[in-house]
Amino acid sequence: MGIPKLSIKAGLIELLDGVRKVFSTTLLSIARIPAAAITLSGYNVTFPDPVKDFLYYHSSTHTSTHRAEFVEMFVTAPPQKWGPAGAEGITNTLADILLGTVPSDSDYLDVQLTLNSRTTYTYTFCASSLPPLVEPGKQTQLLGGSCPLEEGPNWARSMDIVLGPDNGDGTKSVYLRRWQSMAAADPQFTGSQYTPQSVVGNPIYAIGGSVYTTTSPSDVWGYGSANQIATYPTTDPTNFGATFNFDLVITPGYINVGSPTLKKPFAMVTDQLLYGTVPTASSYSATMNFGPADANRWMVLSIVATNLTTGTLAVSSVSIGGVAASIVVQTSSSSGTAFATAIAIAKVPSGTSGTVTVNFSGSATSNIKALGLQLTAMYNPVSSGPVATLSRGTSGGTGALATAAGGVAVAAVASGSTPDTLVGIEHGGTTEQMGWQQTDGTTLNIGATTGGGNQPIIAAASWH
């Protein structure tokens, strides 16, 4: 550090520490306006109980001496998204909460937050209480006003402190915006999970018992004349609402954000379709979401198809938004039953949605029993050619898929029996059959486990 200097010239005032400019009229200092700060102590933010439903599982066994009926009940949260009206995919409205007003020239909020407490009503999830993402009693700062609050395997809650538009009276409003989202069934972690057939909700709580009989009961579960019948509730005893209590100091500021350039992400999943049974045809078409259009957008389609009959099944051609796609990798098997996986890519610059068509070839193209399609939008890839591909047949084990930093990997797994579980790649969605992951250059060793029957086959590819 040299000799400090205050410099006043025509059109320029600067204060220097000898080397660096401490203040300059050409370099805006980030300002906060303490007189307009909004201070809230012990402020309650409430999230409602999500929409719920029951999920029933029933099975029976028959022997020469007895018959047993098993019933389990789960409280489930069907797919839903709560937030302000007008946001994408909102199923239930959570109105913004007005916190106060700040000067209309404010373009930045400095938010200091301390979570004092969280009140929950039925929060035991899988026998353990999930702590909030913000540790109580700790003062933190919110980047961009966002505050993720809690997250379970398939549900999440967050809030934002946001600046509203100019009110026209010299002020802007500051709002607290709440979000909560629940996905369909399918915990994102691998392991011993057995999802009953036709599950449409996210099992969040088991409340049922089992019905066990040793005489000849009705085929209807729960029939009451058996020797032993466990009772189970038929009303929802749970409440997954929550109230968070905060101390908040929201100080408006001016940072002259101007009109910044917005960047698109490199890649993101835009849609996924899953069918238990598809129409009798060798060609299947569906309308799928593509995401924002871009002159250099490429769409990657992951395909899983299983037919429970003997024969052969392969993907012969794919089109996405009317554009013929290149099949970069595919695998198929006729070991016992016919099943196939494939990854295809096409450059689709226009449209936020469109028709995806998959044509199959082979002797088992009719009555495909399970079809899954996952679409990933990829922007400005270094190359439309994949970094690597992986094709693994019914040999089992894992296969190596090279990746690049800042890229994406997709994988698809199929077999004649379900559920299959991909390992070695982050995945999610409503089955375990199509994987997706942002990559950092580390090689992925991708394999799969299966509920039984044939060894799964895998197709995977990575781009950057």
Binding site: L27, P34, T190
Partner: protein
């Protein structure tokens, strides 16, 4: 040429502002914010002594989870690997005696609350949150090791703690041979200020809009450099009102 005026007035304080024929920015600052370059009624971000500094934290490994189940093991059982382990690490001591503002970045990018700094297969993750007390600044990790566990990882954090921005001096301007203080000490040549970057300076992006999206029961984090991270595919674009786009406006600053 833009004319800047530096002026002090009893009851109005001191200001440096773009001059447009009147002194309204000085006397009515709340309605002339863009014209102001400095006003003694406003606060500015001055780095506390000893900051910024780089701190490398050795985050310990976290053992794999053994799973938690609901349902009946003889019929239908759903097992989740969702145990949570939390740990705090001290990033730096500031010893200010109050809870200060701060800015923490990794590789030039600030992370929002609960950002997953480490991810593993199957959705396992190590998320972080930065927090302060009267003495230290900390990073708190929130780990979900899943059924695979999390290996140890070293992460270097660029930590800046800002001092109490209220006036620290009594004079409009004070100067010695080694130090100049302006606007009652709000600007001090002994301190580094957060401001627009000069040529060649390291730039940190400060987001001015949401950095977390939510959909499909999961979060998607959108960082100020335009990159994003999600732990599971999130269908659709984002939850932003008005436009369907994944990004966040940000302003480059230097400290």
């Amino acid at each position: 040429m833009t004319i800047f005026r530096s002026k002090a007035k009893v009851g109005a304080g001191f200001a440096i502002y773009q001059y447009s024929g009147n002194d309204d920015p000085l006397t009515d600052p709340l309605h002339h914010i863009p014209a102001l370059r400095l006003h003694s009624d406003f606060d500015y971000y001055a780095a506390a002594s000893g900051f910024p500094q780089d701190v490398t934290v050795a985050h310990a490994s976290i053992a794999a989870d053994t799973g938690q189940s609901i349902g009946n093991p003889s019929t239908v059982q759903i097992t989740y690997f969702y145990a949570v382990t939390q740990n705090d690490y001290v990033l730096a001591a500031h010893n200010l005696g109050y809870k200060p503002n701060f800015m923490v970045s990794v590789g030039g990018v600030q992370y929002p609350v609960a950002f997953p700094v480490q991810r593993a297969v199957g959705g396992a993750r190590r998320s972080v949150m930065f927090w302060v007390d009267n003495t230290n600044i900390y990073v708190r990790e929130y780990c979900i090791p899943g059924n695979v566990g999390l290996p140890a990882v070293n992460i270097t954090y660029h930590v800046t703690v800002f001092r109490d921005p209220t006036a620290s001096g009594t004079h409009l301007m004070e100067a010695t041979a080694s130090r100049i203080r302006l606007a009652y000490g709000k600007f001090d040549t002994n301190e580094r200020m957060a401001r627009e970057p000069d040529t060649g300076e390291t730039v940190y992006n400060v987001p001015t809009d949401r950095t977390c999206d939510i959909n499909n029961g999961h979060f998607r984090f959108i960082l100020p450099d335009g990159s994003f991270y999600q732990l599971a595919p999130i269908f659709g674009f984002n939850s932003y009102l008005g436009t369907q786009f994944v990004s966040v406006p940000a302003k480059g600053i230097a400290v």
